[in-house]
Symmetry: C2
Subunit: 414 residues, 2 copies
């Protein structure tokens, strides 16, 4: 029998307890021993839970219990999860987590502490919920040099964009619907401003390229400025707008990393990932493109990934899983202004011909998008591939000549 503890009894935590209970035989046949939930840490009371006798409000009950070998941290947030995780790892206990904020902010440090103390720190559930991605990248694709990782990493924004694209619903209505259906928080900022996707691409970048990437160093845009006109122009360009987290390794070893909405060709695998689903593309030098698709959030999908990590720790009580990256600095990241892309521009146009002529004057060879139905007072073009700083200065020049730039969205070459 292997004793484990669960810190947090919210959506994911209660799912972890549920799966360990309902899938008891499955776990036994995989580990060869029973998994016993000895403690559940939560400040709230759960008198009606079948596990009511296991609850504690005192973290030390877990830390000081020598029988507890593996702990699931599913509290979320940095504090006190960070402090607790450090103490547990230092005590030689393995920790598994679904907490992307913690891994993105403190991953390198916690992995180093785990290594020093011959413990495991696993976080399959922190990216893509129930979609296997951390382990496949770390084990199955290990004979590849990964060149690029790109994905739809946030189900809330993908749900909103899908409603805008498929049903012509505007952003506010789609957000409200997502909230009503439980796909979006009451305070949706972390999702719609791209911060959640940013944490996830940071974790994937750190794993792929071996150096910790901190969210503060990554250019992040959300989807709040996307309009239905943008959706229509995108469609005429045989594309859909998706919020993409993307990192690419450059020849000089720097990472070109960002989170932003992008126009993705309809024939791309990522273009067909709709509603609350997530999809992650990993481009390896040997495999080519591999895509992982599934529900990126939700109680049981996320909890099942946490439990898979618990099982892995139980099978490796005496050995370490090799999962590691070093600390990183801002120096390993290409400055945002130097990254290169083509950009879709939606322009104000009292006279379309004039706006197009001015855009060509400034940007050179632009592609004009012809929507099925005319969209009044605007025109949309796609620029050549340029550095962001050039795009910005040329866009300013265009504005100086009296043409307002209403939208600027990157073209994703995915």
């Amino acid at each position: 029998m292997i004793s484990v503890a669960i810190m947090g009894h919210g959506v994911v935590g209660s799912g972890v307890a549920e799966i360990i209970t309902t899938h008891k035989n499955k776990l036994f046949s995989s580990i060869g021993e029973e998994v016993y939930i000895k403690h559940i840490l939560d400040l709230r009371e759960f008198p009606d839970s079948p596990l009511a006798d296991r609850f504690t409000k005192n973290f030390d009950d877990i830390l000081n219990d020598v029988e507890v070998r593996v702990v699931a941290e599913v509290m979320g947030g940095i504090n006190p999860a960070y402090d607790y995780t450090k103490k547990l790892l230092k005590a030689g206990k393995s920790v598994v987590t679904s907490n992307k904020e913690l891994v993105a902010a403190k991953g390198a440090e916690l992995l180093a502490i785990a290594k020093e103390n011959n413990a495991n720190f696993l976080f399959e559930a922190s990216v893509g919920g129930g979609i296997p991605i951390i382990r496949p990248m770390n084990q199955c694709l290990v004979a590849n040099n990964v060149k690029e990782v790109a994905g739809i990493l946030n189900g809330t924004t993908n749900f909103i964009l899908t409603k805008m694209i498929d049903e012509g619903m505007n952003f506010d209505t789609a957000l409200k619907l997502a909230q009503d259906l439980g796909f979006a928080e009451r305070n949706p900022e972390a999702d719609v401003e791209g911060h959640d996707a940013c944490r996830k691409i940071c974790i994937l970048a750190s794993l792929a390229f071996g150096k910790h990437v901190y969210p503060d160093n990554v250019h992040t845009e959300g989807i709040t400025k996307i309009t239905l006109d943008d959706v229509k122009y995108a469609s005429a360009y045989k594309s859909v707008i998706k919020l993409i987290g993307k990192v690419k390794i450059l020849d000089d070893g720097k990472m070109d990393i960002l989170v932003a909405p992008m126009l993705i060709p309809k024939k791309s695998q990522l273009a067909n990932i709709d509603y609350e689903f997530n999809g992650i593309m990993v481009r390896g030098d040997c495999t080519g493109d591999v895509v992982f698709y599934g529900k990126g959030a939700g109680k049981l999908p996320t909890a099942s990934a946490v439990v898979a990590d618990i099982i892995d720790c139980c099978k490796h009580l005496k050995t370490r899983k090799y999962l590691f990256w070093a600390d990183g600095t801002n120096d390993s990241i290409l400055p945002y202004n130097e990254s290169e892309t083509a950009v879709y521009l939606r322009l104000s146009a009292e006279s379309k011909d004039n706006a197009i002529a001015k855009a060509k004057e400034v940007f050179g060879d632009v592609t004009v998008i012809e929507p099925k139905e005319e969209i009044a007072q605007t025109v949309a073009v796609v620029t050549p591939v340029l550095k962001i700083q050039e795009i910005e200065s040329k866009a300013s020049a265009l504005e100086s000549s009296g043409i307002n730039v209403l939208s600027k969205i990157r073209i994703g070459d995915l």
Copy 2:
């Protein structure tokens, strides 16, 4: 330094040698030791290879070399691969393979021998080439009860069907193109008759449900009878025709397993997997649907999966990876005639109204498919969900009434 051997220096084998050589540092940083190719077994001569001094024609050089701990079997076929693999495992050496024929025919026996001798037998490359699928199913989805696995498991047939669907190319022309491009063998039978896909779904079913499923016990249909008229009717039914390998666990524990072309809704994730790509959907009770996508074949994708298994064996020289299934019998499989499905029928119709009326008389409530452009002398309907034996007997009744059944293709509920 860990010494390994490679048996076979064909497409995949030469790729394995290439990756171990070119990705030396990547392997070192993952294992903590150098991987050294000590022997390569092949009956042919490769005097110009940089590894020319490692070649041998004598299997005993590998079997009797105590330094060799891990062997990659990439010869293909059952003999002598089966005999060699058994001997190596009995000698306590770990074996990794890309040989789906071997795993589908002898997996349970070889896994048992590996277990007895505390060695590993891994085969990530046997399904989906470079797509991670065996390890994710075995490790990441281990906290799930898998309910169903379905996939496009053969790139050759998917390439042919995509050309038929996207370009209206007929089967023979598309097959010839696939051969010219190197996607199809000169003798394409194993691909176009579904045998290759069958081996792969057998491996996935054995892994998912813990009992070996033998290809001979699985109903297998290929794509040689699919016509462009079928493709057109499918499109009017908002579907595409894909060759699907599929297994579902029933409430009584029996497996409903088959390989057959199916009409898949265009909005399904599997419908958008085109050309030589493969895609595999795993339906878990906790995760819901998870899909894995990528190149299912090819030198470097397949070889990189073999090398990932070599790395895993090198990291587990003293312990076993838990990967196991028991032997199985035909009793664990639902007889094909009892499996249930709706079916698309293309009928000869001198008078369409008459054909539809007769189909309704025999099948009850059929859905009539209305193609964009009329297809002369035929009509297509979709039957209700019935057991295959009922479909067959009703189709015979229809034929007796003078309506020829030109095509019968299952509706895939994917």
